[in-house]
Symmetry: C2
């Protein structure tokens, strides 16, 4: 996993970014779960009058970084109020992949805590001025992709979740009728960290639970295909791929437009 | 397979159809392959000035029916010149599924002939007035989905192919660099006729051949999910599903806009 060290640290602008819009406003938002202070990042278009649909953005294993702030701004450009959530806690931003693996592992090992942390972000988003609490969705990357799927499995009240190269397995599979959200999974076809067995298991879980899901696999894409800091060598198991990044963002746009209309 | 008997005979308007446009023109087009006369159906928007990109539509196992003519008209509404191709030959329109299975079987058993028949349709499309021969794609349903994948594997000169619930396996897998077209596969997640092993094999073939493909699976969708005549009971293995039909058509639109831009 050391080869993932540059994954997010070297975050940069990504495919699909739009021209800077002076009306996009951002601010830090602190909130709380289980006595822990969390520090998220809110973005919205000040030129739009609400109520607007809201989108939660859940970070990868390095914690909330410039990558998720960029996605929040991009979502604001699309007319959403976007909150880049913080699962780990204020100031908890792993400095390297060893720290990230340890921190992420805490939540992989305690799905109840993970669900509660993500739900706190969703609740915070719904309470923001100008947000239509009846129209929300959540997207997530890597760790955050798995996290938004957990949010959906928990039966959270939101219209959609989108996982980008997220983990798909869970120790707490959804039961019939549990999931209210529609689900979109954007997957690297040759992701060595999210294997075909996990895909098969996920689809069987979703079918058994009666979930409205879509699964998209992108050619030649490995783990972290939306992360510009992941380098460009698929042989390393994690790599940025402009085509899959662009297409998955477009698929997300169409999905959000459908479920948040 | 007798349960598929109403599949296309009872063809009707499908999700995604747009309002009638008086500028949409249609006509029968006859062409030839291997000494056999083929009878296709051309649709275009007379209000548009060319050259326009062209899209071939390949029929399911019952042969060219009103279903494919409807799709050709819908493509014309989108600004494409669309040719609903004829693989079987003028007047060869099976009356029932037994006849369809026999006729389709001829081409499944002779992929060279299948490729030649579909290629003849593509050539005919490229020669139509107002078509930009450098910007073409092909879409197909069930049998036709498998057929357009064969076209792509043959190295045909076109920009994209889209399979809707098509068969994915082939006795003539693509070699490295063979496929010029981008590929979109729209698949019913629980299609009992196109099984998970076929999906896995197809993706391995595409990866090995270096193809630019995307694979989308739709929740709860079985075979023939775009075919309104297929009924609505997934337990029968083939059934119309409005959600998957609408979403797959939207995915196709985005794909064609990208590859034919």
């Amino acid at each position: 996993m050391l080869r993932l060290v540059t994954l997010v640290v070297a975050a940069a602008l990504s495919g699909g970014a739009t021209a800077a819009n002076a009306a996009i406003q951002t601010k830090t938002v602190t909130y709380e779960q289980g006595g822990v202070t969390l520090e998220g990042f809110l973005a919205w278009d000040d030129a739009l009058t609400g109520p607007l649909p809201g989108v939660l953005v859940v970070h990868q294993w390095m914690g909330l970084t410039e990558n998720e702030m960029m996605r929040a701004r991009m979502l604001a450009e699309l007319g959403y109020v976007a909150l880049a959530a913080d699962v780990y806690g204020q100031g908890v931003r792993p400095a390297d992949t060893a720290g990230a693996a340890k921190e992420a592992g805490k939540y992989y090992g305690d799905r109840g805590l993970l669900r509660a942390r993500v739900a706190a972000g969703l609740d915070t988003l719904k309470k923001q001025p100008g947000v239509d609490a009846a129209r929300t969705a959540a997207i997530g990357y890597c760790f955050g992709g798995g996290a938004v799927l957990e949010l959906a499995r928990s039966g959270a009240d939101l219209q959609g979740v989108v996982s980008f190269h997220g983990s798909l397995d869970t120790p707490l599979p959804a039961g019939k009728g549990d999931v209210k959200a529609s689900v979109l999974v954007c997957h690297g076809a040759i992701d060595p960290y999210v294997k075909p067995e996990a895909v098969t298991g996920f689809m069987a879980e979703m079918e058994a639970a009666g979930v409205d899901y879509q699964f998209i696999a992108y050619a030649g894409a490995v783990h972290a295909f939306t992360q510009t800091g992941a380098g460009s060598d698929p042989a390393r198991g994690a790599a940025y791929q402009e085509t899959a990044d662009r297409r998955s963002w477009a698929a997300m746009k169409a999905f959000l437009a459908e479920v948040l209309r």
